[in-house]
Subunit: 478 residues, 2 copies
């Protein structure tokens, strides 16, 4: 295999400028899915991908998703699905990415124009969508082109699914994936998603787990309307008083969740899992740098990574209906809604967590002896996901990392959720691999988003190498 | 005295329509002090009063207050000060009112045009400022006119102080009162303010006490910027977690303040004071109606009134810096500022309360073991005020109420503050009486503000009768 990859790698290097130019064109299309007025640009970006893929000989379809829920006058941007290669003797790999981006305005504090790819002398390529997720999406297209130009046979049949609403909740995508699982995607042997980041800046990783999220609101109401504290303070039971006491009963300063029974739902740590944390390229200074402070819970790296990846956490986000502006207002709010969420991990089932949460809140509220009215709601939830990192999809990717970067990748999880991961796993029944291209400093969703030139170009090599290894990896899981 | 009052009362009745017309003209001037663009109307309203008083032969001055703090391009509206009568043999009574009003827009939900006095078939006179405070201010002017038309000698020298910024913090007024205490106001023997309301709708009251207010913010900060709970939940100490626990330690559902030592500052209840509450015209249904719910703390009227008037209360107003919008956001706020205030009563000194509050919060925060940073601030404070209801200023007013309304007034306090009350007391060293004209249903500051025709016309009689009784009441305090 090495000779084929050598030739592919050299071709990628020789095409580097044109690949960067392709990224420049993509970044120049402000495909902001959250902004109604940018919808034509989102559609334009989808068609840009369609044209690039068509030019490379892929079979491409722009699939409509219908009107946008709650904004029926807006048509959702199409899902671009494509197939490159139809050889029944080859494995088929399904890849996913998104071509929409987060909003970005120069005024937000960008040092450069957000929709003009700007490369500095350290090879940092600044631009909205550079790393999230246009770089990785173009990575697959560039890999096809480099194989053609190198005259190297493409090792797999590649199925592609590129959506245009990821940054706005992937509206309509779940239904689409479920509907196409046994149609357009039916041949998929494994799935690969490149839409996350390395844990640090130097060492690549493969990601095999994500936490889920149960998001709750606690509504406590009493008076018919907001009251003046001068007139009613000391005579009325105040919803805010009850709410902070209920919220204060959920979690302590060190992140310990105080909801009884919740810990019992968490899969116990095995020695084998424990042994994985020591080698991960991560330091407490990495944490402090990203926190911007030293207010971490744990002093050691292993427990910190476990806290992020494999244990649940509970965060209090805020209160709706109370006074939240600067200054002073002597209001007694009549109805307040506390918001919090629990990041879930194996084996916490959404409904089991709900039950414990409701029981805890009911019990605490009852103990207050309040005449106010309590209503707890699960606003939304998404399940955790954990794949086997010993699956051939992962071992192939590890070999590709070793080949391109000369190092064994860290096996990581993430604390946040990428809901489409679970959707693909459940719809196709196949193993899903998260194979990041960018690094921890890329500032996706922030000002000055960037992708390092090195991560882009080596990343294109990595995606191609992965397809070679995954084409030949023995199909066993352990 | 009765014959003089009879003649005065009859004249008030005969002039009722013209007094209502005067109120109509005043309401038609939208003197909204909070609205920059309405500033000329506020000034116009001041000059309206000046002209009316001048026409009645009073000595009137429009005294400038200089530019508005923080809005230096805006000139503050003048204080209208006036003197009616210069007889050294008569007592001198200083009265205060304000000629500015709260904002009002038809779109806010008014049933009528807010700046057109509209009288319904029950004699309810709707219009912004009708009860707060144009009706009472015109009450004094009407009283002068009715004495003149009745040919009844005016019983006192009347000093008037009408300001135009009351609804926007009485900017500049304290300095003015302090400066004029020994000048324009130097002859004052007692002070009367008509800018509050009856406790109910049927029985007049005299008000002899107000609670003070210490307003605090608790700032807790940790990370350098807001964090994503997926990435950092379970690894960072979260300021919101600390804040709700600190806020939850301040007060319980039944309004009991949990700050140790605070109760010791409260003047003990005497049997004499206790005996005052039973007769007050107030029922639990009054409370439930104004609350719009049955979520009161106490089941009995006496304890409820004490909770409003003579015990401190602590209200949690809200949190700045946390997620406060509808919907769901998985943010970990980096810096949150909890706001609460304590309504204070005799003998709670502002600084003593500060000390106990800071000590309590420090102690609770320390017990959390948090690495986050705490900062507690007294944002502003105003002292409580209690006058002796046995002072001749009050006994005279009680006789006037008996004369006009045929009933002994309730002696009430209020839970909120009217800071100018304390300023007048401290600057002049004289007894201050709060003598309300309107009733509890007048909806000052709300939509559909009104003043009942009866309260206006009988109120004019009351103000005049008060001046007669206060002119002759034996000058003793007990
Ligand atoms: Zn993304
Ligand atoms: Zn994103
Ligand atoms: Zn007022
Ligand atoms: Zn007012």
């Amino acid at each position: 295999m090495a000779p084929k990859l050598d030739s592919y790698f050299k071709t990628v290097d020789s095409l580097a400028d044109s690949f960067i130019d392709r990224l420049r064109k993509a970044v120049a299309i402000p495909s902001v899915s959250a902004d109604e007025e940018r919808r034509p640009d989102v559609v334009k970006m989808g068609h840009f991908l369609k044209d690039e893929l068509t030019a490379l000989g892929a079979h491409v379809e722009a699939r409509p998703l219908g009107p946008q829920p709650h904004k029926e006058h807006l048509e959702l941007p199409p899902v671009i699905v494509a197939r490159y290669g139809e050889d029944p003797k080859k494995r088929t790999i399904l890849v996913y990415g998104h071509y929409d981006v987060q909003p970005a305005l120069k005024e937000d504090g960008w040092a450069t124009e957000p929709f003009e790819l700007t490369i500095d002398d350290k090879g940092r390529m600044y631009g909205r969508g550079s790393t999230d997720d246009k770089g990785p999406v173009l990575g697959w297209i560039n890999a096809i082109e480099a194989h053609q130009k190198a005259g190297v046979d493409f090792p797999v049949n590649l199925l592609m699914c590129f959506e245009g609403m990821e940054e706005y909740g992937s509206e309509g995508l779940d239904d689409f994936i479920n509907a196409e699982a046994k149609k357009f995607f039916k041949d998929a042997d494994a799935v690969c998603i490149s839409d996350n980041y390395w844990l640090g800046t130097e060492k690549p990783c493969l990601t095999y787990g994500l936490r889920g999220c149960n998001y709750y609101s606690i509504e406590i109401s009493g008076p018919g309307q907001d009251l003046h504290s001068g007139v009613f303070g000391g005579t009325a039971q105040e919803p805010m008083t009850d709410l902070v006491r209920v919220m204060g009963s959920l979690v302590d300063t060190n992140g310990k969740i105080l909801i009884s029974g919740l810990d019992d739902l968490v899969a116990p740590m095995t020695d084998e899992e424990k042994s994985l944390y020591g080698d991960i390229a991560f330091t407490m200074d990495n944490l402090y740098e990203s926190l911007g402070s030293k207010t971490g819970i744990y002093d050691d790296k292993e427990r910190t990574l476990m806290g992020r990846w494999r244990y649940p956490s509970l965060s209090l986000h805020g209160i709706e209906g109370a006074f939240s502006a600067p200054g002073a207002k002597t209001v007694i709010p009549a109805k307040v809604i506390g918001k919090f969420s629990i990041r879930t991990v194996p084996n916490m089932e959404i409904e089991d967590v709900d039950k414990l949460v409701y029981a805890h809140i009911d019990k605490v509220f009852k103990s207050l002896g309040s005449k106010n009215t309590l209503k707890t709601i699960n606003q939304h939830s998404g399940k955790w996901w954990v794949a086997s990192p010993k699956h051939w999809n992962f071992t192939a990717a590890a070999k590709a990392v070793q080949e391109v970067w000369g190092v064994q990748p860290d096996l990581t999880r993430e604390g946040g959720s990428i809901p489409v991961t679970l959707t693909f796993e459940q719809a196709t029944g196949k193993n899903v691999l998260l194979l990041p291209m960018g690094s921890s400093t890329d500032a996706a969703h922030s000002i000055n988003e960037k992708l390092d030139r090195r991560n882009y170009i080596e990343g294109i090599k990595l995606l191609g190498a992965y397809l070679h290894y995954v084409a030949e990896e023995p199909m066993k899981e352990s």
